[in-house]
């Protein structure tokens, strides 16, 4: 078995570039000029008596069409529904979030650019997304993806039946990273965030410590193009969640697996330390990348309910039999 130092003692060597604030101010100012033009399309065969299911579309960075599954209870209370943004993992497609709608949330499972439902205009593939133009912050894949998460927060907050004063965000891995990114870039909207095993934290050290994909994409890229290492780390500093974490003001619940071979727990600790608002952390010694999700589920549900105050709906009607 591999032997490592206590991950809680880890200190990252990643620092904020001098023009970090300017870069994001400029990026979001340009993004704000794009008309999101959100549209909801009902999906009747995935809807039930309790939950209405829609496909949501909106425009994001460079006009890329972004989609997601939007579910809300069919009977919305007069005071509106809390919104819950669910950003996706790196290789997974978003699931239809009916379970969250049944708990009383207006839930948006986002397909960021490059996902199947949002890949018509931008689709670097897998492997490939993590290293797409990694030598240039202006065109790096995650610039658009972070804007997708930023834009999704205000699209969700602006939907009918959603109470824009109660918007949370939750996800694991890349979804955990994008949860923190949304909270950092939309502090005026996001009221709480859950991040499980967040990805995209402390890029250089994650590449050193992780033994698997997706970080292995960068290992493989740099083995083939070692001359671009300085440029790659210069770019990723602008997108490193550890550098964005200080802008998070909402309460955050984070959980980590201490035997996570995909997103090293060291980098989760470093990001947790950098968060700018109220925060709590749970770690699981024998958990991997799932970060103890089975054991954390009641805690996550309670945390979101405490901050977002959902109103649960009645059980679903029975489905026809096979």
């Amino acid at each position: 078995m591999t032997v490592r130092s206590d991950p809680a003692t880890f200190r990252t060597r990643v620092t904020r570039p001098d023009d970090f604030d300017d870069f994001w101010t400029r990026t979001l100012a340009e993004a704000a000029t794009i008309d999101a033009a959100p549209r909801l399309q009902p999906i009747p065969h995935r809807s039930t008596a309790d939950v209405a299911v829609f496909e949501l579309e909106f425009r994001s960075w460079h006009g890329v069409q972004i989609r997601g599954w939007y579910c809300r209870p069919t009977r919305a209370p007069a005071e509106g529904l809390p919104g819950l943004l669910l950003p996706p993992g790196y290789i997974s497609e978003p699931a239809v979030p009916r379970d969250w709608a049944k708990r009383g949330y207006a839930a948006l499972a986002l397909a960021t650019r490059g996902k199947l439902r949002s890949g018509a205009q931008f689709n670097p593939g897998f492997p490939g997304l993590l290293t797409y133009n990694i030598v240039d912050r202006e065109t790096y894949s995650y610039r658009g993806m972070y804007v997708d998460a930023w834009r999704a927060a205000d699209v969700l907050a602006g939907l009918p039946d959603v109470d824009r004063a109660r918007i949370g965000v939750a996800g694991g891995s890349q979804g955990g990273a994008l949860s923190l990114v949304s909270a950092a870039l939309r502090p005026e909207i996001i009221t709480c965030a859950v991040a499980s095993a967040p990805y995209l934290c402390c890029f250089p050290e994650s590449v050193e410590l992780s033994v698997s994909w997706p970080y292995r994409e960068i290992t493989d890229y740099l083995r083939e193009h070692p001359q671009n290492e300085v440029a790659a780390w210069r770019t990723t500093a602008y997108f490193d969640v550890v550098n964005l974490a200080a802008w998070v003001r909402a309460p955050v619940l984070m959980h980590l697996g201490l035997s996570d071979d995909i997103c090293p727990p060291e980098t989760g600790y470093a990001t947790f330390a950098a968060l700018g608002g109220p925060k709590s952390l749970e770690v699981f010694k024998d958990a991997g990348h799932e970060a103890g999700a089975y054991w954390m589920a009641p805690r996550v549900e309670g945390f979101l309910a405490e901050h977002l105050r959902p109103v649960a709906v009645a059980p679903a009607a029975a489905a026809p039999e096979v």
Binding site: V3, G125, F126, V211, S212, L258, D286
Partner: protein, 296 residues
Amino acid sequence: MDAALKTYWDDVDAELAATDAAVEIESSRRMSSPAARVSFLRFTGIGHARLTAYLSVPAGDSPFPGLLVTSRYGSVNNPPHPFDQERYVALVLNHRGQRLSDVPWRAAYPGLLVEAIRDPRRYVMRAIAADFLRALDLLVAQPEVDVTRVGMTGGDLALVAAARRPAAVGAVALTEPLLLYRLADAAARTDAYPYEELNDELRADPGAGPAIAGTLRFFDLPALAADVRARVLLPTGDPGSIGGPEWNEPLAEALGGRVQQLALTHLGAKDQDAVDAWLSGQLGAPARPRGWQVVA
């Protein structure tokens, strides 16, 4: 195995036999490392589907055990895990519809589980099972593989492949959820995806139940299990749950002495390492735990 079930799967093999695999192997400079040579494979499956896979071969003197990773229920597969690259000739298939094997047809999520499910010959899982069989045949044909030590990981279709190639497969670790096993029962008990895809299908067409049941009978794992000769590791969830001990009982009973059940702890690294220890032991390879020990 009843005659209709045998005929259904014999027809799949007949289609495979009539289809030239037309294999192309392209070495990947980017993914290869001092530990292993990684290649990208292209080949043809039934229905003229052009498929892809990652193939890794450890550095050093062959033969090595072979490992076929049958794909997860999702659009993207990672190349073989680096720890597997070091120990096995490992093949990860991108089955039809998944990324890199998605021209001209791309799988939908949700949607794949019920794609053409009302017609047993057109049901997508039949063709995907054929993709896995083709991948297994390709793996076993690699000169670096010790054909007496071949294992598989995956879900329902790994077991189907083991049933159809009993002489080729020595060990199967069921590392993915069983989606086709008791699918109608599962969909009646939960609204969680991907099981819920079946309920969505029935909402769209309430009269489709009998046709769907007629298709699913060809994926009856307990019936197919009679032909499995491999040792099987069957992870088991909580009592009373889908995947729990009672849920798995018909399958475990059908596999008889060939199955070993693993009670999941829901701590991913611990469960992963238990699977790895079992599979590596079956295949005569060293265990490579992914967990680590923390020192002060």
